[in-house]
Amino acid sequence: MKLMLTCREVTRLVSQGLDRDLGFGERVALRVHFAVCRGCGTFNRQMNFLRDAVKRLGDAEHSPES
């Protein structure tokens, strides 16, 4: 795992991090990148939000039938 990732590679890794356990090197590379790139940090938060939102989709309180 190289230490400097492009933003594009970061988005791919952030997504995979939601689907599998990332390796130590991958986690370090992400942290290094987030430290210098605000855009990717924002992207990471948006991905976590998306996961939350989809999980709640169809919960009783949002459904018209309830």
């Binding site: 594009r8 997504s15 855009g39 996961r51 939102a53 709640r56 989709l57 009783a60 039938e65 309830s66």
Partner: protein
């Protein structure tokens, strides 16, 4: 065994909800009708196993999930799942410049936690999900809504883990853009 009318009525009242859920997940109207019908039949035959549980909808949704996975498994036997598209498809590519930097740097979304309280937001999310290619949507919903592990999704869809990650990645990239355009974009989200 005769099903008491009151229970039958309560189960029937959930039909629309279950249909919406199944359509979202399967993206096929007829298939959705079938699995919901199966679910209702199974439910009416299984009142005893519902007894004592507080939430009928949750119980029915649990049955429905199994029926949906069965349906996806059956559909896969009929025809191999086609990968909707590849990693370097144009829609992802155009987000980045030639050196892999953001063409348009992501900006923070305003009040995401408030969105989660609003029914309109979830309607927008459903619209965005409906725009995904069928198999991408199925894989994404199995992962994020049903909470299946990637390994199991690969197995059900008959694809490799790498293809699975690619599909999930593309789903997330597309949904992010869609939500940004339809909800977190220029105008202030409606408040109550």
């Amino acid at each position: 065994m005769k099903v008491p009318d009151e229970f039958r009525l309560r189960v029937e009242q959930q039909r629309n909800y279950l249909l919406r859920y199944a359509r979202l997940q399967l993206r096929d109207r007829d298939l959705a009708e079938d699995v919901v019908q199966d679910t209702l039949l199974a439910a009416l035959g299984g009142e005893a196993s519902f007894a004592g549980r507080s939430n009928l909808r949750t119980w029915l949704t649990g049955i429905l999930k199994h029926k949906i996975i069965d349906a996806i498994r059956r559909a896969r036997r009929d025809s191999a799942v086609s990968l909707d598209a590849q990693d370097d498809a144009a829609d992802v590519q155009e987000l980045f410049d030639g050196r892999g930097h953001w063409a348009d740097r992501p900006r923070s979304w305003d009040h995401p936690e408030a969105a989660l309280e609003q029914a309109q937001f979830f309607a927008v999310l459903e619209t965005c999900l409906a725009q995904l290619p069928v198999n991408t949507a199925r894989a994404f919903m199995m992962r994020e809504h049903m909470g299946l592990e990637t390994e199991d999704i690969c197995k059900e869809l008959g694809i490799t883990p790498t293809n699975c990650w690619v599909m999930l990645y593309r789903a997330r990239m597309a949904l992010r853009l869609c939500l940004e355009g339809r909800w977190f974009g220029a105008q202030e989200p409606p408040r109550r």
